[in-house]
């Protein structure tokens, strides 16, 4: 009896979680005038909204931009995070603890303080409307550094010493010798970074106005509040569906990794 109740609850909740997606996808395939009366399946299907959208905004370009920006950042975050994390975990130097506490302190610093000056920095450096504005400020990720530090700390020192005796430089030690032992961390950092940078929208809204450089969530946001859509709801919904698609596809293949990554991030 109790079990039945639990199942019912879970199923009801699951429907609540799925329906909005379902509605949105259906509505994007519905002709404009029928959207108002749509609850479940539309009376007629159409791809018009998608076709119109492709003609109005460079959504394909935005997709590429997002892929480019997120990939570069993820790569950078992994490389730099590993380097700094390693230095904090496995080397001794003056100021090591200071930097560690600095990192923790920075993590607690709300972004509201740094938002405007960072914008001004970008303006003064001439990076407005450039990919550099989207990428560089995100290359150093405190969280990634801490995760790598944690990971490296549990790697046996013997491994490092052996590599040193073999004459490896520090960089080779990090990337060739140690990386294979910390794959879960790399995957976690990779997925989290990619996901959060993909979904980041406030920063691009501020520093990029050139449509050719905009990221996908940014373009879809502006499309939904701006005038290009000619007030056609179906077209706006089509763009939202397209925005959700890449991540949903990645999710359906890598569910386990997504969930694990976010879980371990919370714990740390």
């Amino acid at each position: 009896m109790k079990k039945a109740l639990i199942y019912i609850c879970l199923i009801v909740m699951a429907i609540t979680f799925l329906y909005p997606f379902f509605w949105m996808i259906m509505a994007s395939l519905t002709p404009e005038k029928l959207i108002g009366s749509l609850t479940f399946i539309p009376d007629s299907f159409t791809f018009d909204n998608y076709l119109a959208m492709f003609g109005k905004i460079p959504i394909g370009r935005a997709l590429l931009n997002s892929m480019f920006v997120s990939s570069v950042i993820t790569l950078g975050v992994i490389l730099i995070g590993a380097m700094v994390g390693y230095a904090l975990a496995k080397t001794r130097f003056m100021g090591r603890n200071f930097i560690f506490y600095l990192i923790i302190f920075t993590m607690t610093l709300p972004f509201q303080i740094t938002l405007i000056p960072n914008y001004i920095t970008i303006v003064k450096l001439g990076w407005v409307d450039q990919y550099t504005a989207l990428i560089i400020p995100f290359l150093v990720n405190n969280f990634a550094i801490l995760m790598f530090r944690q990971s490296f700390m549990s790697v046996p020192q013997a491994l490092i010493d052996a590599a040193r005796i073999d004459g490896c430089s520090e960089l080779r030690i990090i990337f060739q010798v140690l990386f294979p032992s910390i794959i879960p961390t790399i995957v976690t950092v990779g997925i989290l970074t990619f996901m959060t940078t993909w979904n980041e929208v406030l920063w691009p809204l501020i520093v990029v106005r050139d449509e050719m450089v905009m990221t996908m969530p940014q373009l879809v946001t502006l499309f939904s509040v701006g005038g290009r859509a000619d007030a056609q709801l179906g077209v706006k919904l089509a763009s939202a569906v397209l925005l959700a698609l890449p991540i949903m596809i990645a999710y359906s293949f890598f569910q386990k990794y997504f969930i694990q990554s976010m879980a371990s991030s919370g714990i740390k």
């Binding site: 639990i6 199942y7 979680f17 909005p20 509605w23 130097f93 920075t106 610093l109 405007i116 919904l237």
Partner: protein
């Protein structure tokens, strides 16, 4: 034991951390200092800076929209955090029991977490539509009448809070699951022998055991609440009657609609300060309680 050439040792670590140091100087230290400097000036970027002393601060204290955005954010948290905990914990407890299809349910609940906030906002804005939205159509057809989700000033923040809960609960379910699975089985067995009801088990065993997780949910939700931007920006523009004006949205408006850089910097500092205080208070009271 092995010999490490001393010279090599002293430079390399610094080289390794240099990206961080550079980043810190340019994107953290400088902004914080410059922000502070800006709070004493009026500036719209295209004209020269004007020294204005404490004017920005006085303006902020007298600015009803500043206080309103603060109240809005707190109102959001007061609704969002309990909802989050109840649903996440509840669903986690259900998922932790002996049922099938756990993985499937988990995947479904987690789906909104990974999708962009923009998608969620666009989706829900239509669902919340007063006249044509599906939710109201449903409520009306079963006789409950329509709700002004986004048109009633008293409802706008709660509506956003519900949507935010929907979006994030999957993450917290996972975190709670991890915490729940760490609770030793024999605690529950002992309680059963003593004749404890499900409620008692929940209250006296489960909740204290996952207290650290609850605490983390509260902190993360608080930070999230103060970062609320894209939701009001897309859905309501901060209205109606500025009831959904979040702190970040207000900063954005002052900075990027009116180009009051000095004032926006002042707001930024104020909000950051308040966030830190709230987190410290939460740490003191909530962690201590258990």
């Amino acid at each position: 034991m092995h010999v490490r050439p001393k010279k090599k040792r002293s430079i390399i670590p610094y080289l390794l951390v240099s990206p961080y140091l550079l980043f810190f100087l340019v994107f953290v230290a400088f902004p914080v200092l410059f922000s502070f400097f800006l709070t004493f000036h009026k500036w719209n970027i295209i004209s020269p800076m004007e020294y204005s002393g404490m004017d920005n601060y006085t303006r902020m204290f007298n600015d009803r929209l500043f206080w309103k955005s603060l109240r809005n954010t707190l109102w959001f948290l007061v609704i969002h955090i309990p909802l989050q905990i109840i649903f996440a914990l509840g669903l986690a407890v259900f998922l932790n029991s002996k049922i099938k299809f756990k993985g499937l349910f988990r995947s479904v609940f987690f789906l909104p977490v990974i999708v962009s906030g923009v998608v969620v906002t666009i989706m829900w804005q239509q669902l919340y539509g007063f006249n044509g939205g599906v939710i109201n159509q449903l409520l009306n057809s079963i006789g409950l009448g329509r709700v002004g989700w986004l048109t009633n000033p008293a409802m706008s923040m709660p509506s956003i809070a519900i949507m935010a809960t929907w979006k994030n609960v999957g993450l917290y379910i996972i975190l709670f699951l991890v915490g729940l699975q760490a609770v030793p089985e024999h605690y529950y067995e002992a309680a059963e022998i003593d004749g404890a009801s499900s409620w008692q088990k929940l209250w006296y065993i489960t909740i204290p055991a996952i207290n650290p997780t609850i605490f983390m949910v509260i902190i993360l939700s608080t930070i999230g609440g103060f970062s609320l931007f894209i939701e009001p920006y897309v859905m309501t523009g901060g209205g109606p009657l500025n009831s959904s004006l979040s702190s970040v949205l207000y900063i954005y408006k002052q900075a990027f609609e009116f180009y009051h850089m000095g004032y926006a910097a002042t707001l930024g500092f104020a909000f950051a300060f308040i966030i830190l205080i709230i987190i410290v208070i939460q740490k003191k009271y909530i962690e201590k309680k258990y």
